[in-house]
């Protein structure tokens, strides 16, 4: 299979300059490696503030990493000239969480969906008739009535708006789609519709998907592989079944426990709030971890390399093999 996206050693922190006081540095992404193949969906899960959205923006080259590289379709984003990056954007697309905020309130949605065709003239679909044809095609593919193209965003329902956002992302037939919490702002019934639409689109388009979500149930439906993120790092990664049904990392287990279950005794565990300060060294999860060792506080556990199906960064998993 061909890789559509490969990220190596991504770091990114946000700095805030303050007058007469030390600079505030918030590390958001702290060393992420990942790869997405064509036709595959990688789910990225984690609690809010763990850096998933920042990671999404780094992957699309919307944000510059402090260090590390992103390769999309065999082109390294930070080495591309601006014109090349803009051209590559016809192959990459982003879908946002809040579908109303993601649409310009001042323009009819059809115009917004077709706009990328005008930006990317090299696709050869910039003529009015071609645009109209492609617009109708893409609206049908997201199951929207083409008559709605004339409407303004405020006159659409939440589900329709998210379909519009999807249509805009799909109009250039991208090879990589980053979906940042695409269903979390929707009602459960609408969620189900959009998810099944995404499943169809994934199968039909053959694009690589990065699906960012905090909702494990949603990720399970769509993702082939899952990466669990905690405080800027991927702590566990593998096939969806392996990670979600047989979680190894204590954090993934905590997340699994947070999904409401009908089985008595497996209901939500008491939430343990993450401490405000990130430990200087060692595993970021150590202050919350049940299985914490002395080693966890001084050293970050490397990913186990044994298995492509399932990799974990935790001493409680890897140590027994290393130690006596």
């Amino acid at each position: 299979m061909s890789l559509v996206l490969k990220a190596d050693g991504l770091f990114r922190s946000f700095r805030r300059h303050r007058f007469l006081s030390p600079e505030e540095v918030t590390p958001a992404v702290r060393g992420v490696d990942l790869a997405v193949e064509a036709g595959e969906c990688l789910g990225i899960v984690g609690e809010s503030g763990c850096g998933k959205s920042t990671l999404g923006r780094l992957l699309l080259g919307l944000l510059r990493p402090d260090s590390g590289t992103v390769r999309c379709l065999d082109q390294q984003l930070n080495l591309l000239p601006l014109s090349g990056l803009r051209r590559l954007r016809s192959e990459m697309a982003l879908v946002h969480q809040n579908p109303l905020g993601a649409l310009d309130p001042r323009r009819p949605v059809g115009e917004q969906i077709a706009e990328p065709l005008l930006i990317h003239r090299h696709l050869g679909l910039s003529a009015r008739a071609d645009r109209a044809l492609r617009l109708e095609e893409v609206l049908r593919s997201v199951a929207l009535d083409p008559a709605l193209a004339e409407r303004y965003p405020h006159r659409l329902s939440g589900g329709q708006r998210q379909r519009v956002a999807l249509a805009r992302a799909l109009i250039t037939r991208p090879k990589l789609l980053v979906l940042d919490e695409p269903v979390s702002a929707l009602d459960v019934s609408v969620q189900a519709q959009i998810l099944s639409l995404l499943q169809t689109l994934k199968a039909e388009s053959g694009a690589g998907l990065v699906f960012i979500s905090h909702d494990l149930r949603v990720v399970r439906q769509l993702a082939d592989r899952v990466a669990v993120m905690y405080r800027g790092r991927i702590v566990e990664e593998g096939t969806t079944a392996a990670v979600l049904d047989n979680p190894q990392h204590p954090y993934t287990r905590l997340l699994r426990g947070a999904v409401p279950s009908l089985v008595p005794g497996r209901r939500i565990k008491a939430e343990i709030r993450p401490p405000a300060d990130l430990p200087d060294k060692g595993c970021a999860f150590a202050p919350r971890c049940e299985k914490v060792h002395a080693l966890c506080r001084s050293q970050f556990p490397a990913m186990t390399l044994s298995d492509r199906e399932h990799r974990v960064a935790c001493f409680s998993v890897s140590k027994p093999k290393v130690a006596v």
């Binding site: 300059h17 923006r57 699309l60 919307l62 803009r86 051209r87 590559l88 954007r89 016809s90 990459m92 697309a93 982003l94 946002h96 969480q97 809040n98 905020g101 993601a102 649409l103 310009d104 309130p105 001042r106 323009r107 009819p108 917004q112 706009e115 990328p116 930006i119 990317h120 303004y152 405020h154 006159r155 956002a165 805009r168 250039t172």
Partner: protein, 310 residues
């Protein structure tokens, strides 16, 4: 859209009528105009003769009806001082005030909007902080201080421009600059805030992600959306233009309405004060009407509000 315009226009006229009526009553309530207009040493006969001559001996509703029917025919009463129609004061002074206000307003937009845009695009940089620092200074500096400073530097010290009067175009420069700079500071702050808000919206990120060039993102996607609050602010400033001119006109001895208003108030020249207050109100209301119409143009949500279903 037509219904919207009609409704707004009708409402504007109603507001003007209410404002004018309010001032008419306010100027007459519990005040012996004869005493005010003459002086405290005037004899009782003189005051009574004055009141009879100008109609102030009639009842308030009578006076109001007479004034209103006159006003509807363009007769706003006569000055106590020189007996000329009050409307003549306006027609004589208004062009000068408009000249100054429009020059100042144009300058305000030409400086304020680009400065605000620049600060928003370069948010957090030295450029942003410089522009905002200047804006804070311009915002907090009273216009008469700025006016006198400009006058000192350019008229007295450098002797490049005339200090007071209104005979040539050169006379317009300093008052218009005073006016423009003070207003531009406020507009720049507003434009920056509005732009920053819009630039943070996901649809701007979406436009960037779809590969739109940076300039197009700012000018075609962000600016039209940020224009709505800025137009509100500009409308507000435009409404106040004529009123604000009072200070600048006084500093630069500009023979406009503001100066005339001050002398009319000092002279207790009722009809003149009344017609000027009406003009100020009309400007404020007119500016608001224009803003309402512009909203309809800028924001399709308002334009289509009649047929919207949530």
């Amino acid at each position: 859209m037509t219904a919207y315009l009609l409704r707004r226009t009708l409402r504007a006229f109603l507001t003007l009528w209410v404002a004018v009526t309010f001032f008419f009553i306010l100027f007459r309530i519990d005040v012996d105009i004869g005493v005010m207009a003459l002086d405290l040493t005037a004899s009782q006969e003189a005051i009574e003769a004055f009141n009879e001559r100008w109609g102030f001996d009639r009842s308030l509703p009578d006076q109001y009806l007479i004034w209103l029917s006159g006003a509807l025919q363009g007769d706003f009463g006569y000055s106590f001082r020189d007996g000329r129609p009050a409307s003549e004061w306006v027609s004589e002074r208004l062009p000068k005030t408009l000249e100054l206000s429009l020059a100042g307003f144009t300058l305000m937009i030409l400086i304020g909007v680009p400065a605000g845009l620049m600060a928003a695009i370069r948010n957090g940089t030295a450029m942003d902080r410089t522009i905002m620092g200047l804006a804070a200074a311009g915002y907090s500096l009273p216009s008469f201080v700025l006016g006198l400073t400009l006058m000192y530097v350019f008229a007295v010290f450098l002797q490049l421009l005339p200090s007071t009067g209104s005979t040539t175009w050169a006379h317009l420069v300093l008052p218009a600059a005073t006016y423009g700079f003070t207003g531009a500071a406020q507009i720049a702050r507003y434009t920056r805030a509005a732009m920053l808000e819009v630039l943070g919206k996901p649809y701007i990120a979406a436009a960037r992600a779809s590969g739109a060039p940076a300039n197009a993102v700012v000018l075609e996607h962000a600016a039209p959306n940020a224009a709505i609050p800025v137009v509100t602010m500009l409308g507000f400033s435009a409404g106040q233009l004529v009123g604000h001119a009072v200070i600048v006109e006084t500093v630069f001895a500009w023979p406009g309405l503001g100066q005339a208003l001050i002398s009319a108030v000092a002279n207790r020249d009722l009809a003149v004060v009344q017609v000027m207050v009406m003009i100020f109100a009309a400007f404020m209301i007119g500016a608001n009407l224009i803003v309402d119409i512009l909203y309809g143009v800028l924001d399709p949500r308002i334009r289509t509000a009649g047929g919207a279903h949530g």
